[in-house]
Amino acid sequence: MKKVFSLPESMKDVWTHYCPGCGHGVIHRLLGEVIDELGIREKTIGVAPVGCAVIAYDYFNIDMTEAAHGRTPAVATGIKRILPERVVFTYQGDGDLAAIGTSEIIHAANRGERITVIFVNNAVYGMTGGQMAPTTMLGQVTATTPGGRDSSAGYPLKVSELLAILPGTVFLCRTAISNPANIRKTKLAIKKAFQVQLENKGFSLVEILSPCPSYWRLSPKEAKEWIEEKMIPNFPLGVIKGNLKDA
């Protein structure tokens, strides 16, 4: 019998610690499939963030390391500059990338570092217990915005649009994993982002809108609807810079 579905070689056959309905599992899987399909498993080095995905290195069957909170792109820069023939990616959440690591992401992008960033935007701090993220929606209730976020706590930060004005960025795309069609597009975008690095063109990033049912206080199904209804109007999907051609 022909085997039509199996675990990517780039992933370990282990259970993850993620909550039911969390998007990290889906995104990990897409990343594993892309690394397999591009045949780069043995030359890829990943940098895990501080956040819910902090132990992502336990789930991928590739060389991986950690970084201090937000310094993920700086660590990736050091690796890539020493090993320019390897493929280097960071996997970051919205706290890591868009709050404490804002400086590192902007400057890595501005230098046009040949790295690929997987940016998981779920509008909340997960690991620390559901506090406000820089990408939290106005009105969204979190542990640190009990009355809902108002603009005095800042507006939801659109990092991908900010990075788009930098000449060093080559491919920037925002996707969501709210339904099967969007999941397929997310995979295409991840693949394109790695191809940009393989072609030594510059910095690439995929921002993925991802559900956090636990800290949105929603069921997994409702969380996917919340992405469509609340997040996408604020974080429009699509290619922000570059194109998806050839992916």
Partner: protein, 350 residues
């Protein structure tokens, strides 16, 4: 053959690092160590190495983290306020057991302080500096030639122990020009084979480099392993210089720039018939406590000289353990003691 050349301390750090095989430098401008950053910007590309002017000290030390785990001999440098920022990454380097060399050309503090030479980062340098239980090997060179030699030792020890090594200089040492011979590397570098670095899992199992250890009891086990390394460093890596301690009635203890001035004072009072000696720690961690303890029961007193309000003096007192008085003379905030001030203090004490 290496030639004797006239160079400032900051540039000597750069050239000696390159000769020791350093191929990655990331830094952020801060006075009084800017000559080093500029030197690396020029020399690294010539050697096929990497120079990055980072967006911050936080990023610079994290870039060093990345370069080190990818197998390079990597370094960064700064001065006091910048070194405070680097403590985050230094703790991560120690926790992840990654070699790196960090240079601190100290300036006056606290806060932004000033840009004059100081030795007031001794506590931060020798007691860990960042969060967690760890130590760095800390060198306190006293002249430009010694600075050159200790750079090579720093990279070797960092690799041997897989732990960061700190060079603790000051603004004078960094800026001062002195004749120096920098050992040129001949042939292939005798770098230990690194079977732990990340290069992509080609034909082997994947490697993970991380300091997050959540399983019950495992972090304590990891810390015990780190402490074992620190114990070996304490046994094997202590360096100091002493002069005239066998028949001394008073012994000065000073390091770096303070030690140079203390030696001038020593010569002044010796000509007056005072029997004075000096112990100059070269490694500030591990600290040469045994030689200090050994002489403490047969001298009148110690005098510790620092360009601080009194930091190393605490380690001297711990070593002496009450067996004789330990006096202190220090200048702070960029003040530099003169030989006359120190001589006067010695005369007062006897």
């Amino acid at each position: 053959m290496s030639e004797k050349v006239l160079m400032c301390g900051n540039e000597v750090v750069g050239e000696a690092a390159i000769q020791a095989g350093c191929r990655f430098y990331a830094g952020y401008p801060i006075t009084p160590q800017n000559e080093l950053t500029a030197y690396m910007a020029r020399r690294m590309p010539e050697e096929g190495g990497v120079f990055i002017q980072a967006e911050s000290e936080l990023a610079a030390i994290s870039m060093v983290f990345g370069a080190s785990l990818a197998g390079a001999r990597a370094m960064t440098s700064s001065s006091s306020p910048g070194i405070s920022l680097k403590q985050e990454g230094i703790s991560y380097l120690a926790g992840n057991e990654l070699p790196a060399v960090i240079v601190n050309m100290m300036r006056g503090g606290p806060g932004l302080g000033n840009i004059a030479p100081a030795q007031s980062d001794y506590f931060q340098a020798t007691k860990g500096g960042g969060h967690g239980d760890y130590n760095l090997i800390v060198f306190g060179p006293a002249n430009v030639q010694e600075l050159a030699e200790l750079m090579g030792a720093a990279f070797d020890l960092a690799d041997r122990y897989r732990n960061p090594v700190l060079i603790l200089g000051d603004g004078i040492l960094g800026q001062m020009m002195e004749p120096v011979k920098i050992k040129k590397r001949v042939g292939k570098l005798a770098c230990p084979e690194k079977d732990w670095i990340l290069t992509g899992a080609k034909g082997r199992s994947p490697r993970i480099i991380r300091s997050l250890i959540l399983k019950e009891g495992e972090l304590e086990k990891h810390n015990r392993h780190l402490q074992d390394k620190f114990r070996v460093m304490k046994e094997k890596e202590i360096l100091y210089e002493e002069e005239g301690i066998d028949d001394a009635e008073i012994i000065l203890v000073a390091y770096g720039t303070s030690a140079r001035i203390a030696k001038a004072a020593l010569n002044q009072v010796k000509s007056e018939g005072i029997r004075a000696g000096i112990i100059r720690p070269i490694t500030l961690w591990p600290f040469p406590e045994k030689v200090i303890a050994d002489v403490s029961s047969r001298i009148n007193c110690f005098l510790v000289i620092e360009m601080s309000a009194g930091q190393m003096v605490e380690d001297v007192r711990l070593a002496v353990s009450g067996k004789c008085p330990v006096h202190f003379y220090g200048r702070t905030g960029g003040g530099v003691p003169t030989a006359e001030e120190i001589s006067r203090k010695i005369r007062e004490l006897l």
